[in-house]
Symmetry: C2
Subunit: 153 residues, 2 copies
């Protein structure tokens, strides 16, 4: 199959920490709570990252259930990630800015024997695109453009 | 500083590919377009992942601009990620399910010399929590619970 390219745009709004994120024809706001200088208009980016992972597992499960021979009735993921704010806020040596660990609990109801259902959960984890990105890492390249005063965006 | 734990829950809804994602007091829907068996009610998880990365860069920039000695006026990120659907959909050998590469374009307007603004962009990239997770990878542990018929969720 050919490579498929997904796109998004994130734009810092003119107040606090609020960010408008657009992809396809959808928009979601990211923000921080007031104690992080935000205006609390949306979940923060590290929470959004957990949602991307959880929803990717859910959709992967729905997408692959039939071919795995399982009748999926319910699929829910609870996610937690631990982060030391000293990495992000203070740039403390030896402390990574991102999550040190992510833990997930997957709750599955399926018309299938328990063992097959557990095999399915492991199969979903191995095929989940966002999970693959997070556990194996992805190269992120950046090009920086300086916008001058008066220049159209 | 102590570790801080962020949480989210993702729940597959009872139609198509739609997923309800909750974190803090916010909810966002993930879905797939109709050609991917979805009902197109929200961006998909790999787009949400790009939004998590873009918004994290924006917030990191806003958060750190003052301490870097820069008056930030605008910050926008355009993101693209390439993915081969054969990895996710078919489990093709040697094809990863996730992004093979993510490219970002950062557009910055700041009251600062161009060189300092470029240094700031690199600084933001190095301190961005979601960027750190993606480029360096994170361990994701999973525990699977089988929900029986009639069992309360």
């Amino acid at each position: 199959m050919a490579l498929f390219t997904f796109k998004a745009t994130s734009k810092l709004l003119d107040h606090g920490m609020a960010v408008e994120n657009s992809a396809a024809c959808f928009m979601i706001i990211a923000d921080e709570p007031k104690n992080m200088r935000g205006t609390d208009e949306g979940m923060n980016p590290v929470e959004m990252l957990l949602c991307a992972l959880g929803s990717c597992q859910c959709i992967t499960a729905r997408f692959l259930a039939k071919s795995f021979g399982i009748a999926l009735k319910e699929y829910r993921v609870e996610l937690e990630g631990d982060l030391d704010p000293a990495g992000f806020m203070k740039g403390m040596e030896g402390v990574r800015p991102g999550y040190q660990q992510i833990r997930t609990k997957v709750f599955i109801k399926a018309d299938a024997p328990e063992e097959k259902t557990r095999e399915f959960a492991a199969f979903v984890k191995s095929r989940c695109p966002v999970g693959d990105c997070l556990t194996k890492g992805v190269a992120v390249s950046e090009t920086c453009f300086i916008v001058s005063d008066g220049e159209a965006e």
